[in-house]
């Protein structure tokens, strides 16, 4: 087994644990490369099937190519897709001009909480990785949230020997993170090996490309000439620029991302 085989096998194990141990689960699909890899792994884990709903939280500010990709892949793979939005906040005029962190909290975090509440999901599978950001490095594979979907980083359950927290008090829920141990480079190498489709926005046009995808107003491009998966892999092997450097909401204050996550952001 090479390193990608080890990661794949571990992720499949996590998917199967979540599916077996939790009552009602769903998977988040941000349309980004990581959640596409997650979809692929889910189909591997369940032999071509995705036996739980796939949620996309639509802020309505997403880059248009992402939505087109979502609708095409969802149809092709026959995904049980749920699209959620915080309609109330949008009607109230929420947008990045109200403050980027406020906007993320309302449209992404609250939007997600609304979908979870509406459908009564007790577990949600998310594609975060430890190497993305220092806060995510602290995460557990099975990470409990309280009734307000808040994360208590200071009091996390022990997690060892692949025995996850699968018992929890009524009202609490879990975030499950099958990609926690993967790196950005692993994700691209796996995309190459398996031939997983990704949005064209990742590939350089005119000397720039998206390294991380989010909402159009808050997601910037990085200087790059990497126009193929191979070229992206070659670029990542040498870069020392942080993956989320193009994500404006993280930079709003020193601990912006930490506060977003404690409130329930992915």
């Amino acid at each position: 087994m090479n390193d990608l085989d080890v990661l794949e096998s571990q992720s499949i194990h996590i998917f199967r644990e979540a599916f077996n141990r939790l009552d009602k689960i769903a998977m988040l699909w941000s349309i980004g490369k990581d959640s596409n890899v997650m979809l692929w792994l889910a189909r591997k884990a369940f032999f071509g099937h995705v036996p739980f709903p796939v949620i996309h939280v639509d802020t309505t500010y997403k880059i248009p190519e992402m939505i087109a990709f979502r609708d095409r892949v969802a149809a092709e793979w026959k995904l049980p897709l749920i699209i959620g939005s915080n309609r109330e906040a949008l009607a109230g005029g929420m947008g990045p001009d109200q403050g980027r962190v406020n906007c993320c909290s309302a449209l992404k975090t609250d939007g997600l909480k609304q979908v979870l509440r509406e459908h009564g999901f007790t577990g949600v599978i998310a594609g975060i990785r430890r190497d993305e950001e220092g806060t995510r490095a602290k995460e557990r594979v099975f990470s409990p949230r309280n009734e307000q979907a808040e994360w208590d980083v200071r009091d996390q359950p022990p997690e060892f020997w692949d025995q996850f927290k699968t018992d929890f008090a009524p009202g609490t829920s879990l975030r499950i993170h099958p990609l926690l141990a993967w790196t950005e480079l692993d994700v691209w190498r796996y995309i190459r090996r398996e031939g997983i489709p990704v949005v064209e926005l990742y590939f350089a046009k005119g000397g720039r490309r998206y390294r991380s995808l989010g909402c159009a107003p808050c997601t910037g491009t990085v200087a790059s000439t990497a126009a193929t998966v191979d070229e992206i892999i070659a670029e990542l092997e040498t870069t020392r620029i942080a993956e989320r450097s193009g994500r404006a909401q993280d930079q709003e204050s020193e601990d912006a991302f930490e506060r977003l996550r404690a409130g329930g952001y992915m």
């Binding site: 087994m1 090479n2 390193d3 990608l4 085989d5 080890v6 990661l7 794949e8 096998s9 571990q10 499949i12 194990h13 199967r16 644990e17 599916f19 077996n20 189909r43 591997k44 884990a45 369940f46 032999f47 071509g48 099937h49 036996p51 430890r130 190497d131 950001e133 220092g134 806060t135 490095a137 602290k138 557990r140 980083v153 200071r154 996390q156 359950p157 022990p158 997690e159 060892f160 020997w161 025995q163 927290k165 018992d167 929890f168 008090a169 141990a181 790196t183 190498r189 398996e194 031939g195 092997e237 020392r240 620029i241 942080a242 020193e254 601990d255 930490e258």
Partner: protein, 625 residues
Amino acid sequence: MTATTPFRIVVVGHVDHGKSTLVGRILSETGALPEGKVEALKEVCARRGMPFEWAFVMDALQAERDQGITIDTAQIRFRTEARPYVIIDAPGHKEFLKNMITGAASAEAAVLVIDADEGVQEQSRRHGYLLHLLGLRQIAVAVNKMDLVGWDEARFRAVEAEIRAYLAGIGVQPTHVVPVSARGGDNVAAASALSPWYAGPTVLGALDGFAAAAQPVELALRLPVQDVYKFDHRRIVAGRIESGRLKVGDRLVFAPSGKAARVATIEGWAGTDITQLAAQAGQSVGFTLDDQIFVERGEVAHLAEAAPIISHEVRARVFWLGREPLAVGGRLKLKLATAEHQVTVAAIERIIDVTDLAHHSGGTVGKNAVAEVVLRSRSPIAYDAFSVNPRLGRFVLVENYDIVGGGVIAEAGGAQHQVKSGNITAVDHKVTPTARAAANGHEGGVLWLTGLSGSGKSTVAMELERRLFLKGWQAIVLDGDNVRYGLCSDLGFSPEDRAENIRRVGEVAHLFAQAGMLVITAFISPYRADRDRVRAIGPEAFHEVYVATAIEECERRDPKGLYRKARAGQIPEFTGISAPYEPPAVPELVLDTAGRSLDDSVGELLAYVERVFGSAWHNVAGYGI
């Protein structure tokens, strides 16, 4: 680019001995930090008016920066010329031990950091002990802050000798002991000119010297069933191969049920459905069987010639993380591979003081302590000793939704059965008394307390029931007064009615006993003939206890005021006053409660019960499950 799984290391040690500083320095020296990270942190420090700390690289959280201690395991990567690494920064603060275990349990090797000035401290020992308990065998020691002791070789040798002595006590020999100044970067990546007396490797050199752990392909096949899927026409058994190899055509036996079938296909999906002929340890697989047997999550597939141990009892070394102490009689959920079992703490054999390795017996196990315990399960557990196969020799304990401990299983437990495939399938259809006894940890039976009113039968019975329950026994009291509210509410106290009362209770008691329970009855049952009839229903299960408290003492106690009423002629046919009591001719036990404490009386009875009903199943050979 290499396609190697990063080597996982954990950095442990006493609080403030410099773990995070060492990690920050390693990341910097190996060029692993994103551009601008150090500069950004230096800026933050300047803004807060505090000196820059390498530890801040790891302590990315606001709360940590404020408190100055690491609170959770973070994982950051770097690579040397030899290979890639994942570094798990485990915190040293005492209350965060569960996080350290979370980090250390997945590591292949460890660096134990010790302050050259402070020397070996409580957490240095505790972490060293836990690393060993978690199965880590490769430990390097970094004696840090050598700059604070002026790079004094004598001081280094003293700390080295102290930690080597401790580790030797738990059977660990460190691969290297390196004198270091993490802050100054000495002997981290490059050999320092400040320690000309040290000829060993740098910290990075010590890391590169660790041997990579291999998947346990050569061990016997262990494939815990994780789930069974029926998404389409296929019935796919899914699970991860924890050890050994799986091939199409293998005849698998599932423990503990003993069912068996051959592997028909190994299923997969890689864009479209695929099948393979073989798979090995580490792979998450799905397979179909040639025979539609019912297997479920928790069972362990193995080859017939190399079966795991199947037992209701597990003897293990446990580290306890629960807020409340672990005590005998405690009920927990044990999770081992994909199986879950309800267990009772049957015994706490030794409590280990990890600071001086002294053993204490008895008592309860406090938070963060280590103990050797015996756990008894209602259901049979399939496992291996940790030393034989770690993947099937370790478990976690769950209480009130939380993981509160972990354990590694010692060599042979008290009562184990190397089940041979073949004579095991009959179990589905027949639960034998011995099988029930094995599940309960004791035999079913009737403990028949007879004696005068006020002799102490009910009081003793209720206390005995409570104490047996706490020990995990299936025990219930049938009390004279209580049955007369229901089962025998139509009966009075004439000799005929008393006989019928006892007959009914006797039948019910024996039914309970057959169901595996220990039934404690508390009835005056004054007539020998009535009691003998009850004995005749199931002579082997019937144990008669004569509560022989003298009538004078009973009348003095008179807890219900009945003697007074009887003496006043208000109760007709009152045993001992106006009706006879026939003491047993040959009771199994005589118990006089006069002048003794309840604790003392019950203690005597408890000892009898444990002797007669308790350990019998230990001697049962091949109990038919």
